[in-house]
Amino acid sequence: MASEPVRVQAVEPMPADGPPDTALVARVLAGDDRHAFAALVRRHQGSVRALLRRLCKGDDAFADDLAQETFLQAHRKLDQFRGDAKFSTWIYRIAYNSFLMAIRSRHPEESLDENSVDGESEHHDGAPDLHPEETAADLQMDLQRAMAILSPAERAVIAQCYYLDRSHEEAAYALDCPLGTVKSHISRAKQKLKAHLQVWEPRTS
């Protein structure tokens, strides 16, 4: 697939809860300002942890460990932040790389483009069990199971584009892959999700 240049909008909206990220980054770089770095962590911990929890398929403790490692790495590499992307996009990239390194050390044989190999993938290769009292909680659980059958790369793209509301370009930057790869991951992921969630498709009258 041809690699498309990825352009990322680096303009960051002024956050309501203090100075912009770039100003905080500058303060950390200028004088190792721990208060400024704490403000950055506080501002982004929710989305980084949510992203990693989604990638880790609900293993919250492991995801939080990775999130902590992500912020420590971000502090070490902060002088490499050039401002060509939003700080949040930059830190998602570090988070995703931490996740990749972790799963490679856990399952060195697992390819990033393959489906997960744990028990969850077997659980749901057909339609889910039906019960008369279906609720939103059931949908949420089914969706969680369906997400678990996606490959790590597909899950990461879905998390970026839908759960973090990132554009394709930003997702490509965060995942360090060409734009075309992001699009094909989205397409494949949706095919799989549709196949596993067909029972939730609204009826057409």
């Binding site: 929710g46 929890r53 939080d64 039906l130 949908l139 949420q140 584009c161 759960y163 939730w200």
Partner: protein, 139 residues
């Protein structure tokens, strides 16, 4: 969109929808690029995203800060001038050129031999060291 399970559910082996050929792409913020058929799965993902609870700090920030390396201690301000002075003294004592330079400097500073020619050397030297000292103070 209100999602309800259909009755009866589709079974494995059922032919897939024609739109699943990978030729059409949709994404959250980039908006739908293909009509209709994928909309329900997109809507489902967006609804699920909207339901996600905010993850509270719960001491996470403190844990990160506690695991950070100790802050860098800036070097004392006197270290650069002191090291420069020590280096100059060693060079003046141990090398022939240094001894010659030190002797010349002493002659220059000797008020008994002072002349206008000495100013052409002393003034640039004073300006150079004055600027260096000022730059060190600003740092």
């Amino acid at each position: 969109m209100n999602h309800e399970r259909k009755q009866p559910p589709p079974r494995r082996g059922q032919p897939e929808d024609d739109t699943m050929d990978g030729s059409m792409f949709l994404s959250g913020r980039d908006g739908p690029l293909s009509p209709g058929d994928d909309a329900w799965i997109e809507s489902l993902l967006r609804e699920d995203a909207a339901r996600q609870p905010h993850i509270a700090d719960d001491g996470f920030v403190v844990r990160v800060l506690m695991n950070m390396p100790a802050p860098r201690k800036p070097a004392p301000r006197w270290i650069v001038p002191a090291a420069t002075a020590a280096g100059c003294a060693i060079a003046a004592l141990l090398t022939p050129a240094g001894a010659w330079f030190a002797g010349t400097l002493v002659q220059l500073l000797d008020i008994r031999n002072f002349s206008a020619n000495h100013l052409s050397v002393l003034v640039p030297l004073a300006v150079f060291y004055g600027c260096s000292f000022s730059a060190l103070r600003d740092r």
